[in-house]
């Protein structure tokens, strides 16, 4: 394994890290106590998955970078997350829809990663698969409840879907890194997850009385390091303490 493994693992690990950071912004601000607790728990799970993957990525890279170095000491162009997860939180419905569109991908990815040729990645994925199944149950319930809710909630969910939909294609677009990672059996080919993803998303949107939007030009580039401005602000927030006090411990 080599560079393609590092790149491929960062794409998943960074997506988890950035989403966890987004979710933690809800802590103390969610519309109900139960939801505050739910999002904090989900963020913790996803952060744990990110930590495992980034630690492993650093080991494979062999350049002495640990999870902290990878999380706190890289700038936006070095991040490999999908653009979906760096999108701002919006209202609660918007966050839940983004979460569902992520969970529906994660719940297909992790069981496949659980048979990765890398035993550490497989171990991380074995745990994560169970967590993702629990998360998608939560987020799909909310998408249905709000989509098929009041006129106001329905319209907000329509607007959120309109905003987020163009970001849902990127995770399934294969490039040479993905092909190499699939050839070494490190990871499944991203496009191979698409049919199951579409099946789940279309079923939940139908329950939510939200029409599936037509396929747009899929926004892309995050997995290759081209990000929106949103990520820069998110990283500044996440990294500022570590960078101000390098090596601090307490």
């Amino acid at each position: 394994m080599g560079d393609h493994a590092v790149e491929a693992l960062l794409r998943v690990g960074d997506s988890c890290l950035v989403l966890a950071q987004r979710l933690t912004a809800w802590c103390g601000h969610a519309p109900a106590l139960e939801e505050d607790i739910a999002l904090a728990n989900i963020a913790l799970d996803i952060l744990g998955q990110a930590r495992g993957l980034l630690t492993r990525t650093g080991e494979i890279e062999g350049a002495g970078r640990d999870e902290d170095a990878l999380a706190y000491l890289r700038d936006a162009p070095d991040y490999r997350n999908v653009l979906l997860v760096e999108q701002p939180n919006g209202d609660y419905g918007h966050t839940m829809l983004r979460q569902f569109l992520f969970d529906a991908w994660a719940v297909e990815l992790w069981p496949r990663l659980a048979s990765s040729s890398d035993p550490v990645v497989a171990g991380i994925a074995g745990k994560a698969a169970k967590e993702a199944a629990y998360h998608v149950r939560h987020s799909s319930t909310w998408v249905v409840r709000l989509g098929d809710g009041t006129e106001e909630s329905h319209h907000r969910m329509l607007a959120a879907l309109d905003m987020l939909w163009p970001y849902t294609g990127e995770a399934f677009l294969d490039d040479e890194v993905d092909v190499a990672a699939a050839e070494s059996a490190l990871m499944p080919l991203p496009s191979s997850l698409l049919p199951a993803y579409r099946h789940r998303v279309e079923a939940v949107l139908a329950d939510a009385t939200l029409p599936v939007p037509p396929d747009p030009w899929w926004q892309r580039g995050g997995r290759q390091g081209s990000h929106s401005e949103h990520l820069t602000y998110l990283l500044a927030d996440m990294q500022v303490v570590h960078r101000a006090h390098p090596g601090a411990s307490w």
């Binding site: 607790i37 739910a38 728990n41 744990g48 074995g126 745990k127 698969a129 199944a133 149950r137």
Partner: protein, 160 residues
Amino acid sequence: MTAATEIERAWALLAQVPDPELPAVSVVDLGIARDVQFDDGRLVVTITPTYSGCPAMREIEEDVRTLLAQRFDDVEVRTVLSPPWTTDWITEDGRRKLADAGIAPPGVRMLPLLMQGQPEACPHCGSSAVEELAGFGSTACKALWRCTSCREPFDYVKAH
């Protein structure tokens, strides 16, 4: 002292390390402490996390190391992820202690196996008339349920 006796002693010490978030049970009851071996004179304890994001893991590692260091000169705590922990690893003793503390132990996992199952009975009154209040509870491993017989809410360790 034979190695076997020493390992037994180590397990007995581990049984005194409570889970920081479920202090009624030990890391042995929960199946978090997975293995104890001697490796070239060094005592190696293998532990495994319950959830990816379990914030108690570092504390557990510290607690295990501190307690065992009282008796053993050279202790190493290793964390392994595979095979992943499941609630099936909670011992019968552990399940009883949880129930005694008012926390419903994990029920049978339903099909599909990824679902969380449900409590067999209310830990307060024993009624099986229970319903979920919230899928996420005070820690990653728990959900909040309530009993419709005695009306009391209770924590439920999700089948996982």
